[in-house]
Amino acid sequence: MSPLSARAHVSSAAPSRSPSARPKPSSRPGHLRVVVPAKRPHLRVSPGLVVVSLLMVVVVTFGVAIAQVFVAQGQVRLDRMEEELSLEQDRYQALRKDVAELESPSRVVAAAEKQGMVVPEDVVYLQPSTPEVKGASPTGGVEADTAWSTVKPLLAAPAP
């Protein structure tokens, strides 16, 4: 290092002084010396690390892309399922209406008449003649055996 550069180095660290107050070289304190700057450490990047890093970036990017594809596929599937759900709900409602139409009294009566059934002129209440008959009450009234009606409630007829 030249003296000039050493001076410049010192001046950057110490406060400036006027030229008249500057000590002569002979009277310079002995403890001052020129410091040779140490060599900066050289960053060495191995090619392998670069390749691995690039590979990782590619893999991560690819992974994100794949994940995006899966998400997109999932969304498409979700859309399709929502559409199917909506269609099925519409179908359910339509079928419910069809059932209600088929169950409507006018249609039931028309179907019954088609099979030759007629509205009775009067009602005949059928009763067993002896109290020993199953279901007969001790008071003489008749309690119908309606166990089967739990299986086919629509067939439950008024007792007796």
Partner: protein, 593 residues
């Protein structure tokens, strides 16, 4: 030179960038958003209407509506012609459609082609792939049982707003709330994954559960229609109810079409909206008032001639008879006009009016049905000289069939007035059922008076004018009425010198512990005019059906099916079981012979 050109080019691009990014940025942002963001309106589905057993009476289904963007249709005539087939349009309608599709005429970007069409029609139109024709979904109202209970349910317009009946009365509850779905979509209108997604769910309207029983309603309509046709009448109405709760089980109205003369299930719920002069069925109010006031007892004898001058009018009984002492029971049994007028004269106008109002006349019921009538009841201060003769026998007074049935329900219900009820419950969008509050009962007459009246009315059916209202196995209480019908221009005699009549019968059964009450009103029957022969048989039909439906066995059963306690009885008295038929889900087809 090249450098200058490049500089100019870059300068131009830079200026454009500044213009796009800085000056017009908002506009382009909005434009981009509008391309990506899609707002889908989710219609609020209208609630269903069920009968008391959960059977569908009115349901809403999504249907496709066909619409057009006329600005995209270059050849409207050809497009209209192509649509005419699937839409079954006649030439006039096709021409009109072509006019609507012509963008030069309308200048609009939206025009309805056909609303709420069947799926088959919509599919046929879709297959045509016509330019400028598109579809949207709308809700459509269906009544699976056709016109059953039409006058009660009412109807909705094409925009799903209730127009009449319960659909109108409960429009707010039935109507759902529209929702909104905002999503970010790609160019093919598919939702972008991870894009914006904002959902405001549509709210389904509430369901209504009616007190109506579908099977009873069908039978009521069938019986009423048959009798109107058999008697060549102008129309009729029937209400069937449970006296103890005020629940209406069936309500039917038929009227002849003014132009075609055909009998139609009118949308007008006449039993609630139309008043009529009830005639002799009104006598029961006068008798109840006289009993309640302690003026008479059922056995009290009243001297009854066959005619009586009241002010300037000579009133007479339906048939000539010598002046006799009639018991109050006999007055009702034989439906004596003169006997009833004499009882009314004992009461006086004010007390008569007071009882008429206590029985519910002159005020609309708690049903609050659209266009419900209050009836016409004169103030006693406005009575003419003949009013005290006419009103007790049901002339000069106008009531709805519902009011008259409710008056009889008071007697069936031990003197308590129970407000009628058509809606049993509502079901909210979360499926929670909320029972409708039942009206508060109020006392009209004492239980003793009611019991006395029930016995007297049972006598009317057993021995008097209402024999045709009786049914095998049950004691029926009821009253006949045959009233002259006032003409629109006033008076009762038409230009040809003829009277027009309203025949009616009101009653309940079993007489000792009523479970079912029915009123039958037949308007202007021609083949026969009397309540006892025109209306009473319909009552009997429905009473018999109602007993089967409600599973109320007769108190005693005989081989002949009579309840006379004769030696023909082969079976002991069967304890009356009152099984509430709340689970009946289909039409009962009774075994008969």
């Amino acid at each position: 030179m090249i450098l200058v050109a490049l500089l100019l080019g870059f300068g131009g691009i830079s200026l454009r960038l500044v213009h796009v990014q800085a000056l017009g940025g908002d506009r382009y942002t909005d434009f981009g958003t509008s391309q990506r963001m899609q707002t889908i309106v989710l219609p609020g589905v209208r609630g269903s209407i069920f009968d008391r057993n959960g059977n569908d009476l009115a349901v809403s289904l999504a249907q496709r509506t066909i619409w057009a963007n006329p600005t995209l249709i270059a050849h409207p005539v050809e497009v209209a012609a192509a649509l005419a087939g699937p839409l079954r349009l006649d030439p006039v309608a096709t021409t009109a459609l072509a006019g609507r599709l012509d963008g030069r005429n309308s200048g609009t970007q939206f025009a309805y082609v056909a609303r709420q069409v069947d799926d088959s029609v919509a599919d046929s139109v879709a297959k045509l792939k016509l330019p400028g024709i598109a579809f949207l979904e709308e809700s459509k109202r269906f009544t699976p049982a056709d016109s059953l209970a039409h006058s009660v349910l009412g109807g909705v317009g094409i925009d799903n707003l209730g127009q009449s009946g319960l659909e109108r009365q409960y429009n707010e509850a039935l109507s759902g709330t529209e929702g909104q779905l905002i999503i970010e979509t790609d160019v093919q209108r598919r939702a972008l994954p991870g894009g914006e997604h904002e959902l405001k769910a549509a709210q389904r309207g509430e369901d209504l559960v009616l007190t109506i029983d579908r099977s009873m309603q069908y039978e009521t309509e069938r019986a009423l229609r048959a009798q109107i046709e058999a008697k060549d009448a102008q129309g009729g109405m029937v209400v069937v109810s449970r006296p103890a709760t005020g629940e209406i089980l069936a309500l039917a109205n038929f009227q002849r079409d003014a132009e075609s003369g055909e009998l139609v299930a009118t949308g007008n719920n006449m039993a609630v909206t139309t008043v009529y002069e009830p005639g002799s069925v009104n006598k029961v109010i006068t008798v109840a008032a006289a009993l309640e006031e302690g003026l008479v007892v059922p056995e009290t004898l009243i001297n009854v001639p066959d005619s009586l001058q009241v002010s300037d009018h000579l009133f007479s009984d339906s048939h000539p008879h010598p002046t006799e002492d009639y018991s109050v029971t006999r007055i009702l049994t034989e439906s004596s006009n003169i006997g009833t007028i004499k009882l009314a004269q004992m009461l006086g106008g004010d007390r008569l009016d007071s009882y008429l109002r206590r029985f519910g006349f002159g005020t609309a019921t708690d049903l609050d049905f659209p266009h419900e009538a209050s009836g016409i009841l004169l103030d006693p201060d406005d009575y003419s000289g003949t009013s005290i003769g006419a009103i007790p026998i049901g002339q000069g007074i106008a009531v709805t069939a519902m009011q008259m049935l409710e008056a009889y329900n008071v007697l069936a219900n031990d003197g308590l007035y129970m407000p009628p009820q058509l809606v049993m419950a509502t079901v909210d969008s979360a499926g929670q059922r909320h029972e409708a509050p039942s009206g508060k009962p109020r006392r009209v007459v004492s239980a003793t008076t009611a019991r006395q009246l029930r016995a007297m009315l049972a006598n009317v059916v057993a021995e008097g004018t209402g024999k045709r209202g009786g049914i095998t196995g049950y004691a029926v209480a009821g009253k006949t009425g045959t009233a002259r019908k006032p003409l629109p221009q006033g008076g009762y005699l038409d230009g040809a010198g003829n009277y027009h009549y309203v025949a009616n019968f009101v009653g309940f059964l079993p007489a000792d512990n009523p479970e079912l009450s029915i009123i039958v009103v037949i308007d202007e029957p021609r083949a026969d005019i009397f309540g006892g022969t025109v209306a009473a048989p319909v009552f009997a039909d429905l009473a018999q059906y109602g007993m089967r439906l409600l599973r109320i066995p007769p108190p005693r059963v005989t081989t002949a099916g009579a309840v006379d306690g004769s030696a023909q009885e082969i079976v002991a008295v069967v304890e009356q079981e009152r099984v509430r038929a709340t689970a009946a889900t289909s039409t009962t087809i009774a075994a008969g012979g």
